[in-house]
Amino acid sequence: MRPLSLRAAAAPAATVPATAPVPAAVAQPGEPPADAVPLSLVGVGKRWRGADEPVLSGVDLKLDIGTATWIGGRNGAGKTTLLRIAAGLIEPDRGRVQAWGYSPRERRANYHRLVAFLPAGDRGLYARLSVRQQLRFWAGMTMLDRATGERLVEDSLRRFDLGELADRRVDRMSMGQRQRVRLAMTFLPEPETVLLDEPLTSLDSEGAALLETAVAALLERGGALLWCSPSGDHPEHEFDRDWLLEGGRLVRASGEAQR
């Protein structure tokens, strides 16, 4: 597989502002704060019931506009937990999560309009629906109007080269094809912040290239990417920021501590 370059191409991180107004799609008068960033985690901690040690202990993370960030770590280090918290799927025991000034707790609908999450694995699809039906369903859940939804469904089919599979039922597809459908759903509503948990699972080189293109478009329009995968995956890719999750805290991939 050829290396993916996920560095911002059209708008290098060093030349774009780290913060920006909230995208017009959800901006409302008087809010949110002007220092909105694609994702901000402050002092996030989580301890699972019955565990001696917290899986996350005071994680701070900020994604800047137009940047791709990678978080690695060994199995069970807490990467998926961190992503689930960042996505607003589960709540931290302590700390604060915000994207574009919105909290997943207080303004959940706005948060989820802007932040998309691809969970690890191959779940999250309706087996008896075709690819197109799956995408249309998701467009409805993201509360897009019918015309916009239809346009974005067709865009997604094209973006992930699913045109020929559009009318095939998901339970009759290969794992790699399903992964493309999951990616297509993630990118469908044109989110501003994308969180990917082991996105290369089952993808062939062509699928990986399609993902690279989608990520490049995200960064180009001023979005941000957070990608988690086991440490062994990292040498294949280039990111603007590299972190490792160790002992519940983020450390620079080079070994430098977070703070």
Binding site: P119, F137, G140
Partner: protein, 269 residues
């Protein structure tokens, strides 16, 4: 697009999904129609075999029990939302709904719409078949009123399904209690026999649930069964149950989802 229009569209999208999934199992409609045929046949002969006090003729009991059978289907549909939630948890699609702007609470409510509409159609099929094949005496002048009455009854029944859905989100197995709860409702709701046959203290307990008055209301409209209270009082009782229980069940579902997010168990199944 306004929030309301977007929400209505999302409801329609969920309904469309459920219809497509249902139609993808081609034998299901045939199988359920066959179940109705056999139930009707069974109770047609039971009504001729057993003398039940309070009924002037076997045909009266047949009319009584057919409405009960139709309502059992509706009850199963109300509670099926718990099983649907369980399936969504296992498939990993529930977490998608949690992460959607439409949100999990509205999604679960929307999931209840297709089974309820389907139960409505199946109930109409059962009654029509009873009329055409088994000579069921439908009271045609009030049958159209049974449609809004059924809608009201659904609003009063649905909170129980939502409560079980909430239990499923938290416990992952809330749906296992559905069968015995429906059996219990069948007894205290008077679906198969009049509640006047039950001990007095059980009859008193029926005052505290919507199934008995709703069943009585629908029986009166469909087969002209006598009512124990005035129609207005019955409608008032069912409306009150719906007005109180629906917001409470929606709030409970929201709390259950929130608690699962806090504990991190929303992704478990």
């Amino acid at each position: 697009m306004s929030e309301l229009r977007a929400s209505l569209w999302a409801f329609r999208v969920v309904l469309g999904r459920d219809l497509r999934v249902y139609l993808s199992y081609r034998s299901r409609l045939f199988s359920q129609a066959l179940t109705s045929v056999f139930s009707l046949t069974l109770f047609y002969y039971v009504s001729r075999l057993v003398h039940v006090s309070g009924f002037a003729s076997p045909a009266d009991y047949f009319g009584f029990v057919i409405v009960g059978i139709a309502l059992v289907g509706v009850l199963y549909s109300c509670f099926s939302v718990a099983e649907t939630v369980r399936q969504e948890l296992v498939a990993g699609t529930f977490e998608r709904l949690v992460l959607s702007p439409f949100g999990p609470v509205r999604s679960v409510i929307a999931m209840a719409v297709f089974p309820l509409l389907y139960a409505f159609v199946l109930a109409a099929f059962t009654l029509t078949l009873g009329w055409l094949v088994f000579g069921l005496n439908l009271h045609w002048s009030t049958v159209p009123l049974a449609v809004p009455a059924m809608a009201l009854a659904l609003l009063a029944f649905l909170p129980f399904g939502l409560a079980f859905a909430a239990l499923t989100v938290v416990m992952k197995q809330g749906n296992v209690g559905v069968s015995w709860v429906i059996a219990l409702i069948s007894i205290v709701g008077g679906l198969y026999f009049p509640i006047s046959l039950l001990p007095e203290w059980v009859q008193t307990a029926t005052e505290f649930q919507p199934f008995t008055p709703a069943t009585e209301m629908l029986r009166h409209l469909l087969v002209d069964s006598p009512q124990t209270t005035s129609a207005l009082a019955t409608i008032g009782r069912v409306t009150l149950f719906a007005a109180v229980l629906l917001p409470v069940s929606i709030w409970t579902l929201g709390r259950a989802i929130r608690e699962s997010q806090r504990r991190g168990t929303i992704v478990e199944y």
